[in-house]
């Protein structure tokens, strides 16, 4: 309501033309300050619990300010460091290989269907587009990967399913069709360049914005994926990605909790700092993405708006 009272004549001279009233500005500031705090708080809480003393946590619960600074949870996790390292290896491999392959395959598919002179353009566009409308569901999809391709517990089961996204193929196609002048391709053809050459030497370099944003989303999808692991990775010493390791830690420690009596007989339960270890595991899993976020953030935002513009 404050804002509605502002009319141009009432403006303070220091305030730029047509900006909100000071009261309005402050209300917005406060709303966003509270909201941002709400977003960051759970993350900060996780970090705080991970550096807390286990006994404090058992007695007082997850407190925002640790009573005793204690790194034993991290020590415990790093005693098992080769597991953590292996998971990072799996996640990095899947993300890097997956993103590169997916970008190449999608761009290769998008190029012919962006060319108006290709007679089968319509069929191949529909072929990729239809996958957005209908799918066979989990059961036949699972059977294809496990019983037909025999990819259970295979690292390619974590890569293959996310390689081609119809949505991004169509966005890349639209970008090719609208941004790359047909005359450039024509003149390259007259100069005797083959289609492959035109694609790699002319089309791709001109399409960096859309390729960059596709790559970024692909990276995010591969790095964050746990569903494919949940479905295809069964062996506990198999290809456990960082996300899946985090998921397993959350459920496995629960499993330990339900067997506390048995653990007491063994005498191990009290030694195991399970509350803080769980959070330490989460911090180790989240850490890299938070550190990378400031560098990637603006490209994410750009990428979103590239995707939003439909030609």
């Amino acid at each position: 309501m404050e804002a509605s009272m502002t009319t141009p004549t009432e403006k303070a001279p220091s305030r730029p033309v047509n900006s909100v009233s000071p009261v309005g500005d402050w209300s917005i500031k406060i709303i966003f300050a509270l909201y941002s705090l709400m977003c960051l708080f759970p993350l900060a809480l996780l970090v705080m619990v991970s550096i807390s003393n286990e006994q404090d946590v058992i007695r007082y619960g997850y407190k925002f300010f640790p009573m005793h600074f204690d790194l034993s949870a991290y020590k415990f996790v790093f005693e098992d460091w080769h597991n953590v390292l292996k998971s990072y290896g799996v996640s990095i491999f899947v993300t890097v290989v997956g993103t590169i392959l997916s970008l190449v395959i999608m761009a290769l598919y998008a190029y012919p269907i962006s060319r108006p002179d290709f007679p089968q353009r319509k069929f191949f566009t529909f072929f990729v587009f239809f996958t957005m409308l209908f799918n066979g569901g989990l059961v036949p999809w699972y059977l294809v990967y496990v019983k037909l391709l025999h990819l259970k517990d295979n690292i390619w089961a974590l890569i293959l399913p996310l390689l081609v996204s119809a949505f991004f193929v169509l966005i890349i196609r639209t970008f090719f069709a609208t941004t790359i002048p047909g005359a450039v391709i024509e003149s390259a053809k007259i100069d005797g360049a083959g289609e492959m050459r035109i694609f790699f030497k002319i089309v791709l370099p001109l399409s960096l914005p859309v390729l960059a944003s596709t790559a970024l989303f692909s990276t995010l999808n591969y790095w964050n994926d746990w569903f494919l692991s949940l479905v295809f990775i069964q062996k506990s010493d198999g290809y456990i990605s960082v996300q899946y390791l985090m998921y397993k830690t959350l459920t496995n420690i629960q499993f330990l909790m339900t067997h506390t009596e048995a653990m007491n007989v063994i005498g191990g339960a009290t030694k195991f700092p399970n509350e803080t270890v769980r959070m330490a595991m989460a911090v180790i899993g989240i850490g890299p993405i938070i550190f990378a976020y400031p560098f990637f953030q603006k490209y994410f935002v750009k990428g979103l708006t590239v995707g939003a513009v439909k030609g």
Partner: protein
Amino acid sequence: MALTRNLRKYGMFYLMLLPGFLILLVNNYIPMLGVVIAFKNMTYPHANIFMNFIDSEWVGFENFKYLFKTSDAWIITRNTLLYNSLFIVLNLVIPVAFAIMLNELRSKFLARFHQSIIFLPYILSWVVVSYLVYGLLHDKNGFVNTTLLPFFGVDPVQWYFKIEAWPYILPIVNTIKNVGYYMVLYMAAIIGIDDEYYEAATIDGAGKWQQILKITLPLLMPVMIIMTLLQVGRIFYADFGLFYQVPKESGVLFPVTNVIDTYVYRTFLAMGDSGLSSAAGLYQSTVGFVLVFLANWFVRRIDKDSALF
């Protein structure tokens, strides 16, 4: 011959299409043919999946009859539709309000700062989000039970067993995770609005509210409609991560957390019933298919260029 001429001229194109074509074939089209499993009683006596498929008994709509006889069919349909409807409303109202407010913030530094933080949950995986929720809601140790509720003198609540709470918790979690994505889209649309509209309005003496109601919102309308209808087209598909990871598979909560996607997953991979789960899967795909067409039909009527097809 026309075919050889076509191949000679466009052979390179076919080669370029080949990898993507094969992946779509394996990942999408063979499973589409596999929906027939829903009409069969699958058994696995052979090593070869095709042999098993051919040998399995044809049971017609038996699996569907069985599915719709259980109360599950109704519960998962209701949950999927109600949650998604609520999400669509929340994903519209809050991001639009945020985008307008953030755009009005006089400090551009603060605007960028808050945008970064609001967008952050969008890039976190559901596993991470389930940790964050767990840190807050854990029965014994969670921040809400150990610090927040005692502060207000309220008794601790066993959140992972409290059915009434989850129809609120899930939409809140979903909104916080996705608001950044939609907000950024709407902000891009707001920035695209020509400043001259606002200048003219200022000269005519229109205040901020007037400008928002008469200029910003009407000009955002096409984007709002498209984003909403895209979600309506997918209203029969739930976000598996939200409903599987965040309630941490608490069985007590299934009446309010089980959706079609989690039901299909659980009946198939946890219980091994491929007939029932593939029936539920085909039910989802079919209704989903019809809904996409309906949503698209609406988009076409409003704005032809924005239609999916």
